[in-house]
């Protein structure tokens, strides 16, 4: 069989395998969400210029970012590996990492686009070994990243600092339950798409539409001054506007959050109810803001 035909067959096989793995691969999902959150943090105002795909038709295929923001790398290809044993192999051996990354590199060099190839590995030892033995032909084009996998999205937030930090940058509050909610909303929004050329803006709009995602809004209006006056007069009750959300406390036992961003229709309804009922005690306000 000619080598070109063998390569086409290999690519078909690789893509089919990738699609099957994708269904149950929490690691790939988690990394995709990590990248989406990083991009959302870096390009909030240019989110229409960034698109994302999973399982693309390529040799480095698990995740792909197309970025049209001026000055940024145009195409980023990611291959994800959780194996405890992994080596580069020979560049001539179809199916080796060396072959996949070199073939991808050569194709992209022909296309004359700016690009990066990223090999993402879960195991720290594997990461060190792959870095040490990285083929010279890939050094300029390929980075090797260690992204540990804690086994679940909740554990990932609890134990992988880079994942937690990016969630914290986007989340209105640092509490674990709010971070989990934000991440799960990104997961849900990503799962709703076909995962092919999805504009970052589309995902951000979906997440932003759900107040209980606790995604920090960009701009938001201030609290209605009359409402603020009513709240200020309630004995023992205190509140703060934190990243577009109202957090409150009463006595040293009670605290809470209104799970809607200031200026949203839901928040305006609460303001309207406060103006209408003019609560004077915590008992009066408690059911309005719950």
């Amino acid at each position: 069989m000619k080598k070109s035909l063998r390569i086409i067959r290999y690519l078909d096989h690789k893509l089919a395998g990738g699609l099957i793995n994708q269904r149950g691969n929490d690691y790939e999902l988690c990394y995709a969400i990590y990248q989406i959150m990083k991009l959302a943090d870096k390009f909030p105002a240019q989110a229409t210029l960034v698109s994302l795909s999973a399982q693309v038709s390529a040799f480095v295929d698990d995740f792909y970012v197309k970025n049209l923001v001026a000055g940024e790398i145009e195409e980023s290809y990611y291959q994800l590996k959780t194996s405890a044993r992994l080596s580069w192999g020979k560049a001539t051996k179809i199916g080796s990492l060396n072959f996949d990354f070199n073939t991808q590199k050569n194709q992209l060099l022909q296309n004359k686009v700016t690009f990066e190839l990223v090999l993402v590995v879960a195991i720290t030892k594997v990461h060190a070994s792959l870095r040490k033995k990285q083929p010279a032909s890939l050094k300029r084009y390929c980075t090797i990243e260690n992204f540990p996998w804690a086994g679940s999205m909740t554990q990932q937030l609890a134990s992988v600092t880079s994942f937690k930090e990016i969630a914290e940058r986007l989340c209105a509050f640092p509490d674990a339950d709010k971070l989990v909610s934000l991440v799960s909303h990104f997961v849900g929004a990503w799962a709703m798409t076909n995962r092919q050329n999805v504009p970052l803006d589309q995902i951000l709009q979906m997440v932003r539409s759900r107040g209980m995602a606790f995604l920090r809004p960009g701009l938001h209006p201030p609290l209605d001054p009359t409402v603020a006056g009513i709240l200020d007069a309630i004995p023992g009750f205190g509140y703060q506007i934190v990243n577009g959300y109202l957090a409150w406390h009463f006595s040293n036992t009670d605290q809470g959050y209104i799970p809607h961003v200031l200026g949203s229709a839901e928040f305006r309804n609460i303001e309207a109810e406060i103006l209408l009922k003019h609560p004077a005690t915590f008992t009066d306000i408690e059911t309005i803001i719950s």
Binding site: S152, A176, K178, G188, A191, M212, T253, D254, S290
Partner: protein
């Protein structure tokens, strides 16, 4: 297929209470009473199996919908044994973001937490533990603030995989502290995500509470009473 624990097999009263929860014709008041009685029974089980002393510092944590019945049963029984727990009540917003049932969330939107820094034993109770999302959320919140040496997870009914699933969500150093106390284990879920036979459907509906975000407007009587007591001190 329901599997009863040996404690429930031995007790006709517990079997009756579990059957009344499942029975759709059980009225709201009786349904509430069943949970109160099951709370007392869970507390008795804790007392019988977990070697609590009368000076043990305990925090009892629950969701708002469980506070007045299941949790009150546990609290009253412990108090009758000279254990006086601090109370922590959480109002969660349970949701499957964009209908993705694989990643349910239950962020806390309100909490009532009495001083609990010196807690030795944390009891976290729930009317039923299915996805364990609410228990996981509230437990995560509490163990960031307190460091109990033992954690009891108490519920009349558990879904078969709940124990493993909850343990997997915590580091071993935490999950090693868990003891699960329950009376029945079920293994079926219907299309609405309710455990079968479970507790006979949606707990909010059966308790006569609103469902969804509106249920968080309910302020349990036990919270009102304890706030009043605190204000008098």
């Amino acid at each position: 297929m329901r599997k009863l624990t040996s404690y429930a097999i031995e007790s006709g009263q517990i079997r009756d209470l579990l059957a009344k929860l499942v029975d759709g014709s059980t009225g709201i008041q009786e349904y509430k009473s069943c949970f109160y009685e099951l709370g007392m029974a869970l507390s008795a089980l804790i007392w019988r199996t977990q070697a609590l002393g009368d000076g043990t510092r305990v925090t009892l944590a629950c969701s708002s919908e469980d506070a007045d019945w299941l949790s009150k049963g546990i609290l009253d029984d412990l108090q009758s044994r000279s254990v006086h727990p601090s109370l922590a009540v959480f109002w969660n917003l349970r949701n499957d973001p964009f209908d993705n049932r694989q990643y349910p969330v239950a962020p806390i939107v309100k909490s009532y937490i009495e001083s609990s820094e010196t807690t030795e034993v944390l009891i976290i109770c729930k009317s039923i533990i299915s996805t364990s999302c609410v228990v996981r959320t509230n437990l995560t919140y509490l163990i960031e603030k307190i460091n109990p040496s033992r954690i009891f997870i108490a519920s009349p009914v558990l879904m078969g995989n709940a124990i493993e699933s909850l343990k997997n969500e915590f580091p071993k150093a935490i999950s090693e502290k868990f003891s699960f106390l329950y009376f029945a284990e079920d293994n079926e879920v219907n299309q609405a995500g309710e455990v079968i036979p479970g507790i006979g459907g949606s707990v909010y509906q059966r308790l006569g509470l609103e469902s969804g975000p509106a249920k968080n407007k309910y302020v349990p009587e036990i919270v009102k009473e304890r706030r009043t007591q605190k204000a008098k001190l």
